[in-house]
Assembly symmetry: C2
Homo-oligomer: 345 residues x 2
């Protein structure tokens, strides 16, 4: 049970027969403050014996640094990706001796303001504001009251640092994976939503085709709701057309899962009859499909990490340059890509 009143620096001072100043000096290893080895010893012992744990609230109050960073999100927590983001944030924070104060606004903007307030009241040293997927947003006003950086989002005003995935390069690499395997008719099952990823992935897809001198054929791009059923519908449409594509690039892994189902219905084998590459590296999905789905990984961990480093730069160096990072999406090769089938008709 314990829970006896906790030992304070004063207790340590008394037990070691020194002053609290000295205790503070040795425990914080204050540079320039010279304390005799013997005293140091005694203080350490005393602290140890008492199970002394410095009160960070008091320390923070005094130093104006809470060693805490706030993480706020629209509703990131509901997605599996959130984990990787938060892990990145948490690790980077931990490396700097900080902890993460978590909050989420469930997409309610008013709540968002209140949440930012709550964080500010707790004197967080900075705030990371994350969104579920790459978005263009107008961040809560309170964010300007403290160092802040946007994670997987960019502000409409552009006046706040941010980090997002390189959707376009990722889509290009995905498509090139197919082109390199020999495919020339490549369908793109795109997300129908009006979000940055939709445009950027399309651009990347077209970049790749252009790089291989393949003409862009509008009928090869279809847009559907980004879920398995949308992918199913889109893939079906594409694969049932005459002169069907030999490969499909799907805007999300879930859509790719739908494409797999479409192939199954059409009795098309992957990758023998059609090759497929996804996007997101939704590990549980991509890894569970048969055959495993080759896909582009979203750099969630890296973005989380970057966000905190950028934040720390602002906090520590007062560096207020706004920076916009665009992180690469590495390809994750599994088994859904092969050469196109021999000429058929």
């Amino acid at each position: 049970m314990a829970q006896t009143t906790r030992a304070t620096i004063k207790d340590v001072a008394e037990r070691s027969g020194t002053s609290i100043t000295t205790v503070s000096h040795v425990l914080n290893e204050v540079p320039g403050k010279r304390v005799s080895a013997e005293t140091r010893q005694r203080v350490r012992r005393a602290a140890q014996d008492l199970g002394y744990r410095p009160n960070q609230l008091a320390k923070g109050l005094r130093t104006q640094r809470s060693q805490t960073i706030g993480f706020i999100s629209d509703h990131v927590l509901t997605t599996p990706f959130a984990s990787r983001m938060i892990a990145g944030v948490q690790h980077a924070a931990a490396e700097a001796g900080s902890l993460v104060l978590l909050v989420n606004s469930e997409g309610d903007p008013e709540l968002g303001d209140a949440q930012v307030d709550a964080l500010l009241e707790r004197q967080v040293d900075g705030i990371v504001y994350a969104t579920v997927y790459h978005k263009l947003i107008t961040p809560p006003a309170g964010l300007r009251q403290a160092p802040a950086v946007l994670l997987d989002a960019r502000s409409t005003s552009g006046t706040i640092s941010s980090v997002v995935p390189d959707e376009q390069a990722g889509a290009r690499a995905a498509t090139e994976e197919l082109l390199a395997a020999g495919h020339r008719r490549i369908g793109f099952v795109n997300n129908e939503e009006d979000i940055p990823a939709q445009l950027l992935r399309l651009a990347g897809y077209q970049d790749a085709l252009a790089a291989y001198d393949v003409a862009i054929e509008p009928s090869l791009e279809v847009r559907e709701y980004p879920a398995a059923y949308g992918g199913y519908a889109g893939a079906l449409r594409l694969l049932q057309s005459d002169d069907r594509p030999t490969a499909l690039f799907c805007a999300t892994d879930w859509m790719a899962m739908g494409a797999y189902q479409a192939c199954q219905d059409l009795e098309l084998r992957i990758p023998d009859d059609v090759s497929i590459v996804g996007f997101d590296d939704h590990e549980l999905v991509a890894g569970s499909l048969r055959p495993g789905l080759t896909t582009m990984a979203l750099p969630h961990y890296g973005m989380g990490h970057w966000a905190v480093l950028a934040l720390l730069r602002q906090i520590d160096n007062g560096d207020s340059t706004v920076q916009h990072a665009v992180l690469a999406c590495p390809i994750v090769r599994r088994a859904s890509v092969g050469p196109p089938p021999p000429c058929r008709f």
Copy 2:
């Protein structure tokens, strides 16, 4: 940019021409402290004008209550379920005016101790210790230094409150769903790992059979690794036996996904030829399979919520009774269960 030094209670006092005591009284609506309506007005105005935000560090230092609860996990963050747990924790905390300080130990016990320390230094009012899945654990020693409750875990010593899902009742309900549909030969694709869920779900499966006077046939239980490939292997074995089961209860949704693949390979239709029920309600999986998977939902949100309420009880009322909650797993019906096929041979 702002970031000008923040307004303090003193500023509010000056601007409103009162003392900080009065400001504190009105802003906190201290009961029993009577302040004239007019003064109250002035104080409120001043606070508003100044954009005053109380410093919770100072408040916490003074009141010995940080209004913060620590959430520590073995490596819960990597799983999609974590979201629901944390959401439950966060919401319950928010209702009590608290925020959540997040930390995770990546399964490293030493790190766990350090993390608990970090939390304690921040003066968290209590700690929720969560695990990825229902486990029996020996919690880090530091946990006894503050009110704490175990989430999705139970301590070997039993001296600390905890909340876990009712695996057995859930498994029983899952099996009964199949029995009620008319099935009598029901295979159980169990998890091979030596964890509470394995035993409890088996017990629930057997409870259900007993309730329907169906003899327990050991050959109908197979154990595999809890992933799609394990489920595939187990289901294949079961479905290839002579006198194969007409229904499968899979210990996890991922295993059920493997079972679907096995059915596909054997050209067995779901639910016409074989009915399947899973466990976990891994929403993205269960909802994405075709047909949708009927499965048991793990009460992650509820457990998170319960954990915090229990914690608050300890903190506020000093109620140190240890309690162990077992929360129901509701069934989520989709489309993978139907009547058994007409007699075949």
